[in-house]
Symmetry: C2
């Protein structure tokens, strides 16, 4: 295991950050723990002088940050994305505390890109955004006031990633099977929706409920690449068959 | 064990903080983890509007902060003070990482006040300040850039305190013996210095080296109140005897 490689595989994704200072402070927090890969989804202001000031020695991470317009882009090649929340509300996901969540991420990051996903300062992640993640990680906090500053939450998670890296691995990666990436699962979900609508099973005006349920199932199962391939093959065959019938 | 009582026994001491924003962010970080007791030694600007803004929901902690002019005052009734540093330089102290250090502090905070002591943003604690602490706690970090923001370092330590509280206690407090407070040890050190000078053992122009060594010894031993009493009794007797001889 190469710790440096593993740390580079753990990306931090900030979705719709409002305060440039928090983006800079996030870069600094990452740098202090050896994380390097920062993705910004629709930041309100970037680049920004305030971010540069707060980044201090993390300016290189700020300079190399990737800006995206959609969360899917930031996650496309990841095999595990963790929605970080102060309080776990989305009970449909597997929920870990910061320490256990960091161990889960590190176990995958030894080989593949993974993501820590943080939402807006005021309101956190939307349920749609959380739905694109496979697990939920919550930072244990005071039930009377659990609102960590965004960069402080990044600092705690980055610290736990570094601590997890110094522990013996909890489980060895399983041999042979390749985990599916976020974009492979995204394509599978859309394929499923299309076939569902074509077949008349899904109401085209209300496709969300069934697909949301399937996404949860995929997340829980930690789908493998070959399984995605098999499922899409099955869907394609059904699609062709339906077109012949028409 | 009452977790709330234990958390209230863990004070955060900021020595010579330069940026009011960091003081506010410290109050917020403390609040999110359930810590309540903030001591400010010679802050550059306090109270300050910038601190209030950054404190967010931690404004009550800011309002109730105790301002002192000397670190000794902030530590006077504590029985264990941890100098928090990014990198452990002061090898004469017992050094713990953030996790182990938090466990040490919580083990004592079940009964007595303890302190997490943070230094200036730019330069950290002076060796004199660190000398007033009994242990050193360092936050594991990137060796190429270990400079955590002050409030981020508070956030990590406060988080580890909360996590340590949820673990079974590492060791039970020992029965009977009462640990000495910081100010009892301070008085003992001064008494020792006075007697050392009076006896001619210490060069009055260069008293520091011997006393520094003795302070390290007291810190390592975690002196008890009765031991301090016995030592001071011994010193007083020697003092009286020397005065008779003159």
């Amino acid at each position: 295991m190469n710790p440096r490689f593993t740390l580079e595989n753990v990306r931090v994704v900030l979705s719709h950050a409002s305060h440039p200072g928090n983006i800079g402070a996030t870069a600094r927090a990452m740098k202090t723990m050896g994380l390097r890969s920062l993705f910004l989804v629709n930041p309100r202001s970037f680049p920004d002088r305030q971010a540069e000031i707060r980044a201090a020695g993390g300016w290189d991470i700020l300079n190399n940050a990737t800006v995206c317009s959609r969360l899917e882009e930031a996650l496309s090649d990841t095999i595990l994305a963790a929605a970080v929340t102060a309080r776990p509300r989305m009970l449909s996901h597997e929920v870990f505390d910061a320490r256990q969540g960091a161990r889960e991420l590190v176990a995958s990051a030894v080989q593949y890109p993974v993501a820590l996903v943080f939402g807006r300062e005021a309101s956190g992640l939307t349920s749609q955004e959380a739905g694109m993640c496979q697990i939920v990680v919550h930072i244990p906090s005071n039930p009377d006031y659990s609102s960590l500053n965004l960069a402080s939450a990044v600092q705690v998670m980055a610290y736990e990633i570094r601590m997890a890296l110094s522990e013996p691995p909890a489980r060895l990666p399983e041999g042979g099977s390749q985990p599916a990436t976020s974009s492979q699962i995204e394509l599978l979900s859309r394929h499923l929706e299309r076939v569902g609508v074509e077949s008349g099973f899904i109401d085209p005006h209300e496709p969300k409920r069934f697909i949301a349920r399937m996404r949860r199932l995929f997340a829980r199962a930690r789908l493998e690449e070959e399984e995605v391939g098999a499922l899409r093959g099955f869907l394609s065959a059904a699609e062709r068959r339906m077109q012949i019938r028409e």
